[in-house]
Symmetry: C2
């Protein structure tokens, strides 16, 4: 252990090696090897997130922190905190998946379409005469005069927050500036020639996707995503609303939380795009009705109890500073309108981006999430119809034994063969669990090979069906081949969860078709939106009866259409007008009061006879 | 000093007596006697404001605080801090004026005039159908529909802050409410039948006057006034602007300070009027350009250096919450427009309230303050002319040896006779000093009796002219007859200060007449606005040459016309439109660059030959 030596550290199962100086900590070595170990405490031995296991070699003796955080059994088994263990020899270290920071995979591309660039923000480059004793007009008036006389923009107004910016910037920039206008209102100024950018956000119950867009070219400059931090206060909408009911300041706390997250995402975006906050002149946000209510700190109690009424469903224009976003001082946040308490602006954005409101044949639009929304466009009718299904979070991996979000190690595709099994995992990592598309695939394969019957019961007579603590199960990956060191399985309960979820969606879809007098064959196009929908194997979805048995070519997976709709609303006034039309002219069909819904739901939970669709209607 | 005894405390010169228990502090005794001793620290011996002098009797020994705050000489002379000295016997205590909280006398009545009641706020009493499963329209939409269908007010909008109020209030009030509208925007709601009220403010450099007005009847419900708390950061505009220059966060600090004061005044007003904060649906504020800039936290540096440019001179509509005022959640503050960097919205309001913009003959409007503004209306000309004179704070009692604000004990009128002297003080208290009107009176009388000459020099040959530490002086009240225990005098320096002040105003007035080609005799009416102007003896003002020698009947003292203008702007949309016209069509005459100004100023400083006006022009 003499100075000057280096020791080789071998990180398994990743298979990365790195040479480090003696006494280096395992955390430092992992960082040197480009391995992102979790370390919430910053490496001071407090959080216990950087657990690893020593397979070979010699490390420093366990510290007091390690003895406090790790059990005796764990320590004897070789478990260590990477931040606290120093390297005393060549070592081989096992890094469990749970100790890795796994980047969340978000679907942030979406459909593309034709759009006439006509953002609500106009930028004007201004040469303004400086004030003199003979021309002591106010700073704002000087700028307003140039906008009127040179650019034909009369009657200019600006809030104090913007006037505050003018007086300083004008003198710094010798009266050469660019003004960002929204109608007759100056929302911000920037040095001469600066191009305005906009922020588009799809604010989901679970995930947030954010985009920075050049308002002059329509180009996407940066994208980012993250989890909605309100998740800690309820995974689904209803439990989050319940939280606000039980905590007097709950609405405020949840609002502040998500606003801060948006500001953080903005920070990432402006750094990635190399722009300034002052340059961000417009924001457009979509989300379901509860999420936009929580963002605006609107009362939500009436949203959680019958008759489930929104405080407002109209489009909202609110100053960005009122939502804690530091951008151009007078900039607005535009929230698209909602259709109802359960059909939010995100659905309007999806309809926009997938063009349902301009469809020339019968089109279904489906956005699968914790709540799934379905819209039906029928040309010749002057309105759209939409419904909302409480499908639950099973397709996001929740309430599934080995369910997980779409992160590294998640099984995203499954194929059973006569005797074997093929898995595809995200990042080709060792399997850790199943994400939504993997679950659908797995259940479809179980049904195909008759391991489960039409009612979803495991066939215990089949030798491939195992028995575990919770009854029948199917083994996807044994402990020794998994990233978690545990078996990855599908249980009877998991299959039941999937039945409930797909039953709700299919029943909603059938109810919508019935209520509008539409036969399934009439549907010429089915738009599948959302992150889960993008990675979904359509054949598997049809096979389990989630979707009707239409020719596969009619299905179109468009990704995060809601996010695209938000971007479009940044780029086009016409899109905002269309959103108003959609919200006003969409008939919301309340499924809980739809007469045949319970029967449709019961049928929807069944699995179709192999490779054939059941006649549900 | 046995328990159970009481001791009598005699407070002089007020002449109030009170019986207290032994060991009571002098501060407690004073409070029991209804004497308001200053005590910024709340009686903990820190601030030194409650100094009194023991004339007879026995008190506890001086505390450490007293020894720290009071000098040895003061202690030996019997001075004590009332909060720290305990009563050990019957005592007689002298309370100097400087230790009393003296209520500020404000001129808060003003001119009255005819006004068509047409406030920008409309109130509608609403009966709204409650939501059901078959009618789940949003809360806002339900209200908007009633406003459209019953009251013919379509296209209603409301900010999130207001929507927040709706959902709760509607359910509390069983969907019967009153909505306050400003155009198509709901700014607030209240229980059914509530009448909206408005707040008008005249925000002066020294004083703030605030009025609560019933927007349905135009009736004034309550009035209040106070000092602008920014006074501690500079008595006049320029020193206050300098403060912001020297302190990085100065603009913010001064803004917060005055906003808090406004909220305090509002609190007094709503309590006095028995209304709620939610009922206050509109605010109108006037002030000079610097004061409104500081209120809005606009940059002021450019206002303090040539060419003295306002950040904005336009009328401003800003959400009340952005100025820290908690009223109806969507309510606005309207600030009237300015004419220039030195001619503010208060001057516009004065012109409004005194009807200069609608005058049918030549009218001068004069508002005397630290800065004095003068406007000239000349029918036949399409514009008004105005000028601003840096008259300084002498007329407010500042920079005058015994000058003081218009509080109890201030000499407000002076009359010399052949051998004697008559004084009138505010509240008929013992004289403590001179307020503005008293100073003008005193100087006029000195000149009348030739105690000063045309150039303002004391005539030392006259036996009534005394000699003090600072040269010649005139004794108004000897120490033994004064409230302060000190002589109240007028010195040579005081006379000079008055000459500078009145010279500046008179020169401005003459310049304005010259610049507009107006002979003094053409002026058919002279409107004197402002608190000082209301108490002014017009004859004395003419005698010292402050005003031209026109028939006294042409002078009209209208009180706080600026405050009245602010009230009117609350009550009438037309008045707001007139304000825009006034700001747009008033020619500002910059006196510092006016060719003959220096000569006019020199002449203006002279005192007229006795009972005759000098020919200045």
């Amino acid at each position: 252990m003499s100075t000057g030596h280096v020791f080789e550290v071998d990180f398994e199962p990743i298979g990365k090696r790195v040479d480090v100086a003696p006494q280096t900590t395992l955390l430092e070595a992992a960082q040197a090897a480009g391995i992102d170990l979790s370390s919430a405490c910053g490496g001071i031995g407090n959080c216990g997130q950087c657990r690893v296991m020593m397979l070979e070699g010699e490390l420093s003796a366990p510290t007091e922190d390690e003895q406090y955080i790790l059990s005796d059994v764990e320590l004897r088994g070789g478990q260590r905190l990477a931040c606290s263990a120093h390297i005393h020899s060549q070592v081989k270290i096992y890094v469990p998946k749970s100790s890795l920071i796994t980047a969340q995979r978000l679907q942030i591309d979406g459909v593309s379409g034709e759009l006439t660039l006509d953002p609500i923000i106009d930028a004007y480059d201004l040469d303004v005469p400086a004030p003199t004793l003979h021309d002591p007009r106010s700073d704002l008036e000087r700028i307003a005069t140039v906008l009127a006389s040179v650019h034909n923009r009369p009657n200019i107004v600006a809030e104090p927050a913007v006037v505050r910016q003018i007086s300083t910037l004008a003198r710094q920039q010798n009266w050469r500036m660019t003004a960002f206008l929204r109608g007759a209102e100056i929302v911000g100024l920037a040095p001469y020639g600066t191009r305005p950018v906009g922020l588009a956000v799809d604010l989901g119950t679970t995930k947030i996707a954010a985009y920075l867009v050049d308002l002059t070219t329509g180009q996407e400059l940066a994208l980012s995503g993250g989890l909605n931090p309100q998740i800690g206060y309820g995974e689904d909408v209803i439990s989050r609303l319940t939280y606000t009911r039980r905590h007097p300041d709950g609405e405020h706390a949840l609002a502040v939380m998500v606003r801060q997250k948006l500001d953080e995402l903005l920070d990432e975006l402006i750094q990635a795009a190399g722009v300034t906050r002052d340059q961000v002149a417009d924001v457009c946000i979509v989300g379901n009705t509860a999420m936009t209510h929580l963002l605006l700190e609107l009362p939500v109690h009436q949203l959680a109890v019958a008759p489930y009424v929104a405080a407002t469903g109209a489009a909202v224009d609110v100053k960005a500073r009122d939502l804690g976003l530091s951008i151009a001082p007078g900039a607005y946040v535009h929230l698209l309108p909602c259709i109802g308490g359960f059909v939010g602006a995100d659905h309007v954005a999806m309809i926009l981006a997938s063009g349902l409101d301009q469809a020339e044949h019968v089109v279904l639009g489906i956005d699968i999430g914790t709540n799934s929304e379905i819209a039906l466009a029928k040309p010749g009718q002057s309105f759209l119809a939409s419904a909302s299904c409480a499908s639950g979070p099973a397709f996001e991996g929740a309430h599934i034994s080995d369910g997980m979000r779409a992160a590294a190690g998640a099984i995203e595709a499954v194929k059973l063969t006569e005797t074997g099994l093929q898995l595809k995992t995200i990042d080709d990592a060792l399997p850790v669990g199943l994400c939504g598309s993997g679950i659908v695939d797995a259940v479809a394969e179980l049904r195909r090979w008759e391991l489960i019957n039409e009612r979803g019961r495991f066939n215990r007579a089949n030798g491939r069906v195992g028995q575990g603590r919770h009854g029948s199960e199917f083994l996807l990956a044994p402990a020794q081949k998994s990233g978690s060191g545990r078996n990855v399985i599908i249980t009877q309960d998991d299959v039941n969860e999937i039945q409930l979820a797909k039953g709700a969606i299919r029943a909603g879809l059938e109810a919508l078709l019935q209520a509008t007098g539409t036969a399934p064959e009439e549907v010429k196009e089915v738009i599948i939106a959302g992150a889960f929908g993008s990675f979904l194997n359509i054949k598997s979805a049809i096979d389990i009866g989630l979707f009707p048995s239409l020719p596969q070519a009619r299905y179109k997976q468009v990704g995060n259409a809601a996010g695209v709709g938000a971007k479009w609303a940044l780029l086009s006034r016409d899109v905002r007008a269309r959103a108003q039309q959609i919200a006003a002219n969409t008939d919301y069909i309340e499924l809980t009061t739809y007469p045949k819904f319970n029967r449709l739901f019961a049928l929807g939970m069944l699995f179709p006879t192999l490779l054939m669709d059941t006649a549900l209607s």
